[in-house]
Symmetry: C2
Subunit: 504 residues, 2 copies
């Protein structure tokens, strides 16, 4: 782990899953499902047959495989990376300290990731949220309570009031969105004809109100308000709930009571890792699928050194990567053009490590909202033991795009300047500094999730989950609850497994 940081792919424990781990924890699964794969050891091309081939061993694919296996059907998974977890990735900060390079939080109504974590023995603990947050704007830091009766309200009377009004308005609009078909909402055409930026400019007038809404959008989507459709924003916040609790924007952005409420003991990647352990040899790593051939009643996924022929396939990778697989026969045009229109957001996560979380002694949560790029949203990512202290920040949207491929030293300098502005001079000298740049990850190519520009949901939305012959689609981008989150990934895997099992 070098001081300047590397891409997340370089930071994980390698080959966690493989021949040595393959026999662990598979006893609870039906015996029939155990013999489907050959161990991935030889260099020559190997092949296997199974009832179902799953492409991509992130949470969606792993969950789908779990359910297919539980129903007594055989599965082989082909994963491009030498690890499982996709956008869920533990990062080793040295000395046994683990944090997350990607998805890390879990919150209320995220029932499916919660159930999975419980099932695979991963506990949660509260995100540190005691004391005051920092609001840094126009060069001045001010404090505000992280736990007011209305949730945390930044100390900016004009902006906060206007932003709160806008949020209630968005929540109301979101109530009209059918989650499985947002393009059929009564105002779908109007809302998918404009950027979120246009809506913001038409509905907020104060610079600070607009600023607060900007921060909400960039921190949710890792894109600029101008990049994303108003309809997609409304769909996404409507999806931040479950069957009995409507979604809203507060649940997306809040720590206490919101999507950032809790974290996973040992790091979120323990969830996919433990699930993969159960699946054992069914998970074949380092096999990027290049081609999927449907013929004669079977579907074959062909990777560089491994091919799997099955009755059904579940492709559980994000749309822009699914687009890069060579399908024979080619996919329907509507599906192909959809995948030309679902770009990934842009985000780097940065971590600074200190001997202790010094900000806590000053009564600070470590959470900041700021108008100063690159680090405009921060969290206390200190492990449950309370040592070492870790400040995490998201570098998002334009702030990230401007720094793609740029000097890591300059990024470190700029982030530490931000941290010092927010939390005082002790922040200037971390013991180490780490960058997780998802744009450099060849098997993700951005983070946290795909979004759509105006017009895409209206004309292409219906292709997002529609199976193509024996090919089914999973991944958090296909979820109708918690789209873009770990919970959505798990739900999408469960849904894809149901589709496949109904067809087998």
């Amino acid at each position: 782990m070098d001081e300047q940081g590397t891409s997340p792919g370089g930071l994980t424990r390698r080959r966690l899953i493989g021949a040595a781990a393959a026999t662990a924890a598979t006893t609870a699964l039906p015996a029939r499902a155990n013999a489907a794969t050959k161990p991935k050891t030889a260099a020559a091309a190997q092949s296997a047959t199974a009832d179902v081939v799953v492409v991509g061993a992130g949470l969606a694919g792993l969950t789908a495989a779990r359910d297919v296996v539980a129903a007594g059907r055989s599965v082989v998974m082909l994963e491009a990376r030498d690890r499982v977890g996709g956008r869920v990735l533990n990062v080793d900060l040295g000395n046994g300290v683990v944090t997350e390079g990607g998805a890390e939080f879990i919150g209320p109504t995220q029932d499916h990731i919660a159930a999975l974590a419980k099932d695979v023995g991963v506990d949660t603990y509260p995100t540190y949220n005691t004391g005051d947050n920092i609001y840094f704007r126009n060069g001045m830091a001010s404090r505000y309570s992280s736990s007011g009766p209305l949730g945390p309200v930044p100390p900016d009377p004009t902006g906060a009031v206007e932003a709160e009004k806008a949020i209630l308005q968005l929540d109301d609009m979101a109530k009209t969105i059918p989650l499985d078909a947002p393009w059929t909402a009564p105002n779908a055409q109007e809302w998918d004809s404009q950027t979120f930026e246009t809506w913001k400019l038409n509905n907020l007038v104060t610079p600070s109100g607009r600023f607060l809404i900007d921060v909400a959008i960039t921190s949710i989507f890792s894109c600029e308000p101008r990049d994303v459709s108003l309809l997609f924003v409304l769909f996404y916040l409507a999806a931040a709930g479950n069957e009995s609790t409507p979604g809203n924007i507060e649940r997306l952005v809040n720590t206490g009571g919101g999507a950032q409420e809790r974290r996973f003991v040992g790091g979120s990647q323990l969830v996919p890792n433990n699930l993969a352990q159960r699946l054992g040899e069914r998970v074949v790593l380092s096999q990027p699928v290049r081609r999927i051939v449907t013929e004669g009643g079977t579907v074959t996924a062909i990777a560089d050194g491994y091919s799997v022929t099955a009755k059904r396939a579940i492709v559980a990778v994000p749309p822009p990567l699914a687009a890069r697989i060579d399908y024979q026969p080619q996919l329907p045009a509507l599906r192909d053009q959809l995948t030309q229109r679902m770009p990934m957001g842009t985000v780097m996560k940065v971590h600074a490590v200190y001997p202790e979380p010094f900000w806590r002694a000053a009564g600070l949560t470590g959470q900041a909202v700021a108008d100063t790029p690159p680090a405009q949203v921060t969290f206390d990512n200190t492990p449950p033991s309370g040592r070492p202290g870790i400040l995490m920040a998201f570098v998002e949207a334009s702030a990230a795009r401007q720094r793609l491929g740029a000097s890591r030293e300059a990024l470190r300098r700029d982030v530490l300047k931000n941290f010092s502005d927010y939390f005082g001079p002790l922040a200037a000298n971390p013991t180490s500094f780490h960058v997780s740049d998802w744009q450099e990850e060849i098997w993700t190519r951005g983070c946290p999730v795909c979004f759509t520009a105006p017009g895409v949901l209206l004309d292409y939305g219906r292709a997002i989950r529609e199976p193509v012959g024996p090919i089914h689609w999973a991944g958090t981008e296909t979820a109708t609850f918690w789209n873009g989150y770990m919970d959505g990934a798990v739900r999408s895997g469960e849904r894809a497994a149901r589709e496949v099992l109904a067809a087998l």
Copy 2:
């Protein structure tokens, strides 16, 4: 050629270029350039070396190859299809009648495609534009002159006046766009923060004014006004000119004096076909490039059965297809994310063939503008001989998307209903009917050109032409004049060749 139509790939003469044609017309080229390739005959994988490998034998790639060869350097081109021309494709309507399934027109200031056509011996003739156009709206057809002093002005006083005012406003805004860097325009941020639809709703109030502007946008981009950034629209119309003549929207949409003014005798594909004949065996067909490897001072393009190692590569395929090549090492993140954000438009071209162009006798040009999908913009595509009569229509944007994968019989019925509404009952019974569906073309996946949604030019525009090591980018999407047109493709090939020659 079946009555119901097939995809354009099925309609061309196969293997026009190959061993039999390879020796033709190469004598004017430097001898050094002739021996670079091996003939593509064996089934086993072949390899070649050259100074430059060109990926994609559309107009851009062919032009680049021409210029590299003319400078005494060797070239091998790898083309995925079994033909050259890309989005330029002759369609055989039977009985020796040829029309175009893709790009067909040439107009004033398109000097580079004009020079190329002249060089390879392809003449032009005027698009039929004598008499009145049809304006069909709210169920009623009316006629208007195709050659008024202000150009053709639809007979809708309210709408025409308002649309004309909007057009002048757009032309004025376009004058502020630097063609090589539209993201640096003084109002770039404002204009790239909104859809064209938002601008339209804010600047036009009459339904018929908005309708006329809608038709202009969908016929230029084959996308909906809600899909595309205002800044991109302004860039595109600013690019509809040359070094001495500023672009404007009139030149894009007009027939007389505009981009639809003339056509190519024998069909536009004769231009790339004739150029490819000159390049001879350097053009290797049916070799989709899957991987491009840069190492040790060379770059190798690897297709299914052929690989070429060179000093420089020119990738001359549209961005969404360039994204699907596996680059080793991977491309910079900014470039990769750009290619996630440049979708292809959506368009089918339909042709109905009649014994004669019966509408001419009625004083009609065969050109119509209508509010009735699917065929809302039509042309007289009759060959210069005047027989048979051919009506062509573009089916675009949502009208096309709704019909992707749908019944060809229903499309034929709906188009012929449109044609009958516009040109009378004789239009109901063509002798044949043909559909060119570019969305089904696996090596194009849409047409006529890629566009950008809001936010993309601002944050990603600078990656469109920037070379990556020895890899250079061509294609009409990289052009600064006549972006999206054949002329832009030719210009982009010339520019890429200059880059490569300067580096060799």
